[in-house]
């Protein structure tokens, strides 16, 4: 017996189903009833019922790619803020190998890096690494913060949503699993991308989002094109 439908909004304590279903994320069992422990949307997959929170904090997971800011330099590592209750660290050996060098010459406080979560231990110490394609320091661009549960929605099915924004705005966009988004392109295009991304975060729980995002992009860009009619747009090289 199930008392809610897929994508219903629930609050903590709402009874979702009885014990013929399995408990998923964001739920708990009280007697033989399954209840929500979060404010969020119900997701029913086969016999498993879970609640996807409307807002969340990023909990580091091994293998995630994240965007982090350097907050401190220690003797042999950098400390990074990864938009999470837990801070991460990047060992100097990961960058220099066995060589001993001045850490601040490679990355300084305030630098923004694209990293991979190498390991998370029992006390949530987050070890980060830079080994992998495309990982490293960002130069230029802007940062946008969204709630980490909305990241899959921003990326879309097989990257459909994010690719549409990339194609329309001609911006480079990188999304970290921790809800930090890096955008680089022409300044006015960066602003458009920012507005669209904030709109997606706002309306991530509604359906028909892709179409609305497309319309919004066309509207914002349509204005831009009218403004620049006299000046032929120069070709922009990707990357």
């Amino acid at each position: 017996m199930i008392f809610v439908e897929d994508k219903n909004l629930v609050v903590p304590g709402d009874v979702l189903a009885d014990d013929e279903y399995h408990t998923g994320r964001g739920t708990f069992k009280e007697g033989n009833k399954i209840c929500s422990s979060l404010v969020g949307l119900v997701a029913v997959r086969d016999k498993k019922i879970s609640v996807i929170p409307l807002q969340s904090k990023y909990i580091p997971k091994r293998g995630d790619v994240v965007i982090g800011e350097i907050t401190d330099i220690r003797f042999s590592m950098w400390n990074l803020d990864i938009n999470s209750p837990y801070s991460g660290f990047l060992p100097a050996s990961d960058v220099f190998g066995k060589e001993k060098r001045d850490l601040s010459k490679a990355f300084d406080v305030g630098d923004v890096l694209f990293l991979r979560v190498v390991d998370v231990d029992e006390v949530k110490k987050v070890k980060l690494g830079l080994k992998g394609r495309g990982l490293g320091k960002f130069r230029g661009g802007i940062l946008i913060y969204i709630t980490p549960t909305k990241v899959p929605r921003l990326i879309g099915k097989k990257g459909s949503m994010i690719n549409m924004i990339k194609d329309e705005t001609k911006c480079d966009i990188i999304v970290g699993q921790n809800g930090v988004v890096w955008v680089k392109g022409k300044p006015e295009m960066e602003r458009i991308a920012e507005r669209v991304i904030n709109m997606i975060e706002d309306q991530a729980h509604t359906s028909g989002l892709t179409d609305r995002v497309r319309n919004m992009l066309y509207e914002l860009l349509g204005k831009e094109i009218e403004d620049e009619e006299e000046v032929p747009e120069p070709d922009i090289e990707e990357g």
């Binding site: 800011e69 350097i70 305030g110 923004v112 230029g140 661009g141 802007i142 940062l143 300044p187 960066e190």
Partner: protein, 267 residues
């Protein structure tokens, strides 16, 4: 030792905001001398004699006023008392901590207090009941509910609105005793409506009503309190870098225009 939590601003964010401001634009699409959307509600706390809630963009402050009869200060025996306190609630920002008031909270309360007191919002002499013995004391409490930069302008605007909204019971002297008439209320005796404008200096340019992102990267800040006739009643400078004469004169010019626009919210 007092340690204020310093938030580290990513270098690329600092650069993108500074470059936009150098071009005369801002990250949220405003022009350098635009305020964010302002919402002002009064009389929202039933139990307080006067109250207001002000929203400036995402910054939100609640203001409550309670009157009390007390003894005047010895050097001003015939003058009522106005006291301002501020509270930075931890839910307003990750950098606000519970505990004794920190530097920012004290500064906010003092600057607001100075702007209200020196701006002569209330005719405090009319709050005297028995000279040298009993006067009305007006306690004004600022509760910061949400912090997104520029607390001072919001605090002053909200405080003035709350003071205009306040009705205190009338007090009479009968046979050397004070009788409070809880049936008849009087408005506070208002003289002026001073307001405040805050500017941040970023990349050598002045921007009004800085947001939190802008406050985090600003070189310096200046707040100017002004009465309706254009006279200055308070000024506070913050940050590490200096201002030039021209910058301050420019800021005063914008303030006299912008306080006029802000004053429309009080009506």
């Amino acid at each position: 030792m007092v340690m204020t939590m310093v938030s580290i601003v990513p270098e690329i964010t600092r650069r993108s905001i500074t470059e936009l401001i150098r071009k005369g634009e801002r990250a949220d699409g405003r022009s350098p001398d635009d305020y964010r959307d302002i919402e002002l509600e009064v009389g929202i706390i039933e139990k307080a004699e006067g109250s207001a809630r002000v929203k400036m963009g995402n910054t939100q402050i609640m203001i409550g006023i309670k009157p009390q009869i007390g003894e005047p200060f010895a050097d001003t025996p015939n003058v009522g008392v106005l006291m301002t306190n501020s509270e930075l609630l931890p839910m307003a920002s990750p950098t606000f901590e519970p505990g004794p008031p920190d530097e920012r909270s004290v500064e906010l309360a003092r600057v607001t207090d100075r702007c209200l007191r020196e701006g002569k919002v209330i005719d405090l002499e009319k709050l005297c009941i028995i000279e040298g013995e009993k006067v009305w004391m007006i306690f004004l409490d600022l509760h910061v509910l949400d912090y997104d930069g520029n607390l001072m302008d919001a605090a002053v605007l909200g405080s003035v609105a709350a003071i205009l909204n306040t009705k205190i019971p009338t007090a009479k002297v009968e046979n050397d005793k004070i009788v409070i008439d809880e049936e008849n209320f009087m408005e506070l005796p208002i003289k002026e409506t001073p307001l405040m404008c805050t500017f941040a200096k970023i990349g050598g340019e002045l921007v009004i009503d800085p947001s939190l992102d802008e406050e985090n990267i600003m070189d310096a800040r200046i707040s100017i309190g002004m009465r309706e006739d254009g006279s200055i009643c308070a000024m506070q400078k913050g940050g590490e870098m200096p201002f030039t004469n021209e910058e301050i004169i420019k800021a005063i010019g914008i303030t006299s225009q912008k306080t006029g626009e802000l004053r429309k919210h009080l009506k």
